[in-house]
Every structure is written in structure tokens, then in C-alpha cells.
């Protein structure tokens, strides 16, 4: 059993890989921002005084966390058009990623919020702040800080999960690898290159989050 690795023959396909990497990065950045925003909103909804909002958020979170990502993706891309909601593959993939990260990060952020001592709410209340002001200024920033490592991991999981959106022909990195190997028959090399790029992206993402941490949390010891 012998196999001669031939990366040189991949060179003509580098533009395909580059385009794929760019789409993956694009999907990751937008879905991370959107997903964390949605997650924050739902975490707040879960502790709201309004029962309907609490229940709606809980249903959404449980529905997403207990179904496979690829089924969510197919539901959005193939299912929703039946209701008249037409979208491109890229849009569907993006929405699926945002919805997925939104649900998981909501639970993570909620854990951070619930870890806030009751006295923090009381101190805000006695100073005359509204519930919303207390949440935004007093409760949320330390909550993010507490669960930051978990949020970083979850965001990276979603970045890696973006490989799945190649299934609806979003032309991201895995799609590019698929395409190249079908043209060149260099499957081993194509997927190996894709894997290495994912690894590098994940490491870069972790570092970017590390940098952001230093800027966002002024007091490192809470």
C-alpha cells in the first residue's frame, strides 16, 4: 500500500480554496455576531417577567438544541420556501448558523446571568435603575466575562459546523474541497488541505477572541 502525495497538482485550484475560505470567514463573522446577539436576547427573555416571552425563548432553545444542525439547515433552505420564503443558499446557511449559535449561546449566557449574586440586582434597584438598565450595565458585563471561554468554544464549534452548509451548495471551504477533489481526483490532498485550513482558522479565531477579551473586560479579576 503506497500513495504518493501530490500537493503540487492542487496549485491551479488555489483560487477555489481561497474563495471558499473567504466565504467560511464571512459566514463565521456574521453568524458569531448575530448568534451572540440573538443568544443575549433569548437569555434575557428566559428570565423575563413576561411568561409568553419566557416560554417562546425556551421553546426555541430546546427545539434547536435537540435537533441535528443539518435538519435545521434543510428545514430552512428546502422547507421554508414552501411557505413562500425564498432565499439563496448563502442566506439560508447564514440564518441556520445564527439560529444554531443563538440557542446554544443563550443557555451559556443565561448561566452567567444566573450566577450574578442577588445583591447586584438589589443594589441596582435601590439606586433607582430600571430592570433593563440593571441588566445591561450591572448584570450582563460580568456575565459575559464569567462564561467567555464557553462562548468562544461554542463560536468555534459553529465555525467548524459551517462545513455542513456545503450540503446546500454554499460555496465555502468544504464545498471548495469537494469541488476540487471531484475535478482533480486528489481527494486525500484536497481534504487534508481543508482540514489544515480549518485548524488554522480555529486557532486564529481563538486568538482574536483572546485579544477581544483584553479590550472588552477592563478588570481581568472579577
Amino acid at each position: 500500500m503506497s500513495y504518493q502525495l501530490d500537493f503540487a497538482s492542487l496549485v491551479p485550484y488555489l483560487p477555489e480554496f481561497a474563495a471558499g475560505v473567504w466565504t467560511t470567514i464571512e459566514l463565521t463573522i456574521i453568524s458569531t455576531l448575530g448568534g451572540l446577539a440573538l443568544g443575549t436576547f433569548c437569555a434575557q427573555g428566559r428570565i423575563s417577567n413576561e411568561a409568553w416571552l419566557r416560554r417562546t425563548c425556551a421553546c426555541y432553545i430546546e427545539a434547536v438544541r435537540n435537533t441535528p444542525f443539518i435538519v435545521q439547515l434543510f428545514f430552512i433552505f428546502f422547507g421554508l420556501p414552501a411557505l413562500g420564503l425564498k432565499m439563496t443558499a448563502w442566506q439560508a446557511g447564514m440564518i441556520a448558523m445564527i439560529i444554531n449559535l443563538g440557542a446554544y449561546s443563550a443557555e451559556i449566557i443565561r448561566a452567567g446571568i444566573e450566577a450574578a449574586p442577588k445583591g447586584q440586582w438589589e443594589a441596582g434597584k435601590t439606586l433607582g435603575l430600571t430592570r433593563r438598565q440593571i441588566f445591561m450595565h450591572i448584570i450582563l458585563p460580568p456575565a459575559y466575562q464569567r462564561v467567555y471561554p464557553a462562548l468562544v468554544s461554542q463560536s468555534i464549534i459553529v465555525m467548524l459546523g459551517s462545513a455542513v452548509v456545503s450540503q446546500i451548495s454554499v460555496e465555502e471551504l468544504t464545498f471548495a474541497a469537494n469541488f476540487v477533489q471531484s475535478r482533480s481526483f486528489l481527494s486525500f490532498e484536497s481534504y487534508m488541505l481543508a482540514a489544515v485550513i480549518y485548524l488554522v482558522l480555529a486557532i486564529l479565531m481563538r486568538q482574536a477572541f483572546g485579544l477581544l477579551k483584553c479590550i472588552a473586560f477592563k478588570n481581568p479579576s472579577l
Binding site: G119, A123, L127, G128, Q133, F217, S221
Partner: protein, 242 residues
Amino acid sequence: MSLVSLDEVHKYYGENHVLKGVDLRVNAGEVVSIIGRSGSGKSTLLRCLNGLEEYQQGAVIVDNQSVENDDYKLRLLSRSVGMVFQNFNLFPHMTVGENVMLATKLVLKKSVTESRQLAEELLAKVGLADKFDAYPGNLSGGQQQRVAIARSLAMSPKVLLCDEITSALDPELVGEVLKVLEQLKEEGMTLILVTHEMNFARDVGDRVVFMNQGKVWETGPSDEVFANPQTDELKSFLAAVR
């Protein structure tokens, strides 16, 4: 008209009858110490004065405002009533200065410059002018509690509620906090404190309220109450804490 008045206040935690008809009047400028055994309802009573606890019967009126379970009314009330807690409850992610400025910016809508100036004055007053940019986690307990007092004062309250504010402090740090309270008394601030500092209650407080079994058991001018307790319960309590 008293600044603070409670009429026949009853409070239940489920089946547990915590306050059993409390009557109390506090005039502006008075320093009132609430003492009693743990479980006698002193902290609950204090927390009924600013709406942190609901009560089921009776009336609580502070600064001509009825204390009710209504978010908007309680926010208005919070401008008249400040509170300092046993565990400081400073906001750990904000500097000392930001802690003091937060409510003046968000609630009183003062400008940053104005808020900052006020915060600097208040921190100087509690002896922490140099800690404006420090984080609470880097301060001693006594310093943190003085920041908490400055933070309450930023809202210029008419009455300051102190809930066992020296109980979490190391003994050598108690003095610096009590000194600030004494200073506030001299400036005419109304103080209602739940406290275990009997010397402070006797020497600085105008009046003592002894709570027992959810009621105001005995009350009177500090020196008289300590020198000459009337009820057996207060006598045995004072004997136990001395």
C-alpha cells in the same frame, strides 16, 4: 410629619409570620438603631422601607410616598431612600468612580463631567479620593463599604438604610466605616441602621428600637434604653451581646 412611618405592618414568608404589626416613626435627622436577635425581623423591616421586600398588611410611608410593589413608584422612592448592604454589593467590573457615577448618569441624567465631579467630592468625603480608578476587588472591606456609602449618597437620599454594614468587616476596619456614619449624622442625615455595634448605637444613635418576635418590643432614647432596659427580653439580649 415623620420622614418614615410604619403602621401595623405585617409580613409573611408563606406561612411564616415575620413582622407582626410593626409601628415606627422616624423623624428627619434622627439616627435610629434597630437591634435584636437574628430572626427577629430587623432586616426584613429595613427592606420593607425601600420595597426590597413586600409586606402584606399595613402602611409604609417614606418621604410622603407610599411604599408599594410598583416598579415605577419604587424607582421614584429610591431617590429618597439610599441603602448600604452587609456585603457591599459593589459592581466588580466597574472602577470605584464608575460605581459612584452610575446612577447619577443613568437615573438623574447628569452629564459625565457633573457626575464625575460629584463622585470625586463624595469619595473625598469618605476618605477615598485616591481610589477613583481602583477596582473594588483591590480594596479592603472597610474601603469597599465606604465606596458603597458614597455610591448611595450620590443620589442625595433623605434617609440612608444600613443593613448590618459592619458585620462582614474585620474588627479593625469597623471604625473607619462608623466614622463616616458619625460624620453623616453631624451633617443631619437620617440614618436607620440594623446593627450589632452596641457601642455605636448607644453613643451615636438617638434612638434604639429593640425587635423581638416580629414586633417592636421596646424603644426609646439610646442612653435610657441601654442604661435601663424595661423588658426581660431586652435585658437578656443586652446581657448576651455584652
